[in-house]
Symmetry: C2
Subunit: 442 residues, 2 copies
């Protein structure tokens, strides 16, 4: 186990469910857990390492509810394109040629470094060769739910159609034994997975106590396609297959009807909202304020770095609030406190982890972020929660502790050689560019 | 004059009108102008100071077309509120009690520091006591168009109604004689300035060769109000008063009809788009793609830091593109190249300064920004212009040169004591909080 760490001074946002910020006494990390939160300095254990948080805000680590982490290696390869051309002309061909185990490990490592630097302590990933993605999360030291992609069509790690189940077996047997990472499955969507595939993955997930993720109602085209195939939209289709519930994570949920929202609420299905991806790909605006009214749990995700194109969850919080205000015409919609909750405790709830992370409480896992408020763009401070959503950015994160280990210290990653990862990423990008006709700048 | 500076290596985006990025030879700053742009290393003048830009992108400084800079001192004081409550319950009372010359100087200094650190080299400001705002711009070393606010109602610097003209005279006579700053006038809006006020400010501006700014069609309520008062919307009203043309800058232009767009295009009136402010206040989405189709010049602005709440123009570029894609339903709308142009050369054009700034050309003023691409979230680089809009943020700016002077070096401001400005801002915020019932966190 690790030695004790004491965070002292500054301000603390311990419980995002009430968004109250208080002057910070000390918070004690013992091993991988919080043993005391905001207690007087006299509780300081002898010999503990001290992180001085004067002028900073101490808060729970951010939860990125949806990412395809390895796609960082295709970041900026193809923008300003319709989804089908982006996928068919760029993403799929590059993945077919390049997305092997090394690509997945390296791309995930690069994304995990970026997320750590931006205050994300837990993320939910979905892609291919995912036992390698799990290894990368462990190497960087982030907490992750690592979901193996399931599609009926050929994929980079299951090149024969309908061979996904064999790939899932490989994934599960090779999955690293480490408390930082948990396995899960990710059915791409109900339009790329047949009903039998969805039923079978559900059964595997239930048997193993794993989460099942799927993209749902991302575009209006998808909804039309589903209706023409099954006479119902994707939410109702998933309900008919008995997939909905707290163990299913519905990603996007943009084009949903009132009846769909009721279904999600009644089944306790959680949603991950990806506002920047939905805007950039012109998919539309998910009805987040209605989800919250109906009690649907909602987290926030960046989506993959090839469709966003960064992994800054502060910016994503801001975009979530801005988009909700714009589409509802109401400047009070999705206020700062609600968005911070989505990016921490509510996101943890969607991933079934709110008993362990998402707030700073004695006994919870020690996932802590220190945001430096002593910056011109965060001066003065009237309301720190407002600053988190409307003014801060990931580069204001100074220190990050995950599972009791300080993975970011004074804005630098401590666990891996960032420069080496970037060098290897540039080398792979050169290969990709040479085969896809694009040119790399550096 | 200043000694020569040579920027060498990396990539260069010299001319945003074609968005071509090339490997960078050297660029030479002589005095306050560019004497050579992207020439071979053999042109290196002896004795010049060298800035090594390896792994960076060298580009023209960003142009922030609209800000109320001094309002940084009210940043985050009141968010998630309707515009009228925000103004009447928070902004106006605080301004009435606090917004004196010292407040304006200090708040502008704080904003100018933030803008410099984020790669803004020119900005257009509008507020009160503006000769003091001009002094702050000079102190920090940014280029600014500094517009004295004009309203019929009492203001912090003209507490008697209809006394604006006396205040304008004071402003013009006290305006500092420095090539970095140019005076202008800012009629708040056609609903807070009577037709006679608008006509008279227009006359003063024409006589002195100054720009005239005004908020136009920011909210649907404003348009209704104008219609009920004048039977026409704000754009037509301004046209009827002969205010439109290249010397008028129309800020916001959210709620405009096709006929209004034609009027703006036909008169050559420039628009400043403030996407984040328009989203945050739920004002609506300006029809930017239609403006561009019709040839209306469009720049980008952050709006004041009390309504945005940061001054990161990279983020503002991203939001401009995202909002356009969302409201048009077209992922190809307002692509990265178009947005970079808006934030540089087109913004300069709206301010009548494109002959002097907005691109890197020999003979133009030396306003140059160096963006560090060697960061995890900007790795790899397939398309640097895409990165500027979809992945970068202001904190990636490493060096900034304005008028031949390096005001930011390796992410630190060189011209003023940033810590001291922040300390003084916190002190004023404490006073504001104590009188407005809010509490300051730090």
């Amino acid at each position: 186990m690790n030695g004790s760490i004491v965070l002292s001074g500054g301000l603390i946002l311990a419980d995002p469910s009430n968004a109250e910020v208080a002057p910070h006494g000390i918070t004690i990390v013992s091993g991988n857990r919080l043993s005391a939160v905001n207690v007087p300095a006299e509780f300081h254990p002898p010999g503990a390492r001290v992180i001085d948080c004067t002028g900073c805000l101490v808060m729970p680590g951010l939860v990125n509810g949806h990412i395809h982490a390895a796609m960082s290696l295709m970041r900026g390869l193809a923008d300003d394109l319709p989804l089908d051309r982006w996928l068919n002309d760029y993403m799929f061909p590059v993945e077919a040629n390049h997305a092997g185990p090394e690509f997945v490990f390296l791309g995930t490592e690069l994304s995990a470094i970026e997320m750590a630097l931006n205050g994300v302590t837990t993320y939910a990933d979905g892609y291919f060769h995912m036992e390698h993605a799990a290894a990368a999360a462990i190497e960087v030291g982030l907490r992750a739910i690592v979901a193996q992609g399931v599609l009926d069509v050929p994929t980079p790690n299951a090149p024969v159609a309908d061979s996904w189940e064999t790939r899932v077996e490989t994934f599960l047997s090779a999955f690293p034994d480490d408390s930082l990472v948990s396995p899960a499955l990710f059915c791409h969507s109900a339009y790329l997975c047949a009903p039998e595939t969805l039923r079978r993955t559900r059964a595997i997930c239930r048997e193993r106590g794993m989460l099942l993720f799927t993209h749902v109602a991302e575009t209006s085209r998808e909804v039309e396609e589903m209706r023409s195939r099954y006479n119902v939209g994707p939410v109702e289709h998933l309900k008919n297959l008995d997939l909905l519930g707290p163990n299913l994570v519905a990603v996007h949920a943009v084009h949903v009807s009132k009846a769909d929202i009721d279904i999600l609420a009644d089944t306790g299905t959680g949603v991950v909202h990806c506002p920047e991806s939905n805007m950039k790909l012109a998919s539309g605006a998910a009805p987040i304020t209605e989800f919250l009214c109906r009690g649907v749990p909602v987290g926030i995700g960046t989506d993959g770095p090839a469709s966003n194109n960064n992994l800054d969850l502060f910016e994503e919080m801001r975009s979530a609030s801005f988009m909700a205000k714009l589409v509802t015409g109401n400047p009070e919609a999705l206020d700062a406190a609600a968005v911070v909750r989505m990016a921490t405790l509510d996101g943890a709830r969607v991933l079934g982890m709110d008993h362990a992370i998402g707030s700073l409480e004695p006994g919870k896992l020690a996932d802590v972020v220190v945001v430096d408020l002593k910056r011109p763009h965060l001066t003065p401070v009237y309301d720190p929660v407002s600053h988190l959503v409307y003014a801060a950015r990931g580069s204001d994160v100074r220190d990050v502790i995950v599972n009791g280990v300080q993975v970011v210290e004074n804005g630098r990653i401590t666990t891996v050689d960032e420069q080496d990862v970037m060098r290897r990423a540039v080398a792979i990008a050169r290969e990709i560019a040479s085969t896809s006709g694009e040119t790399t700048g550096t």
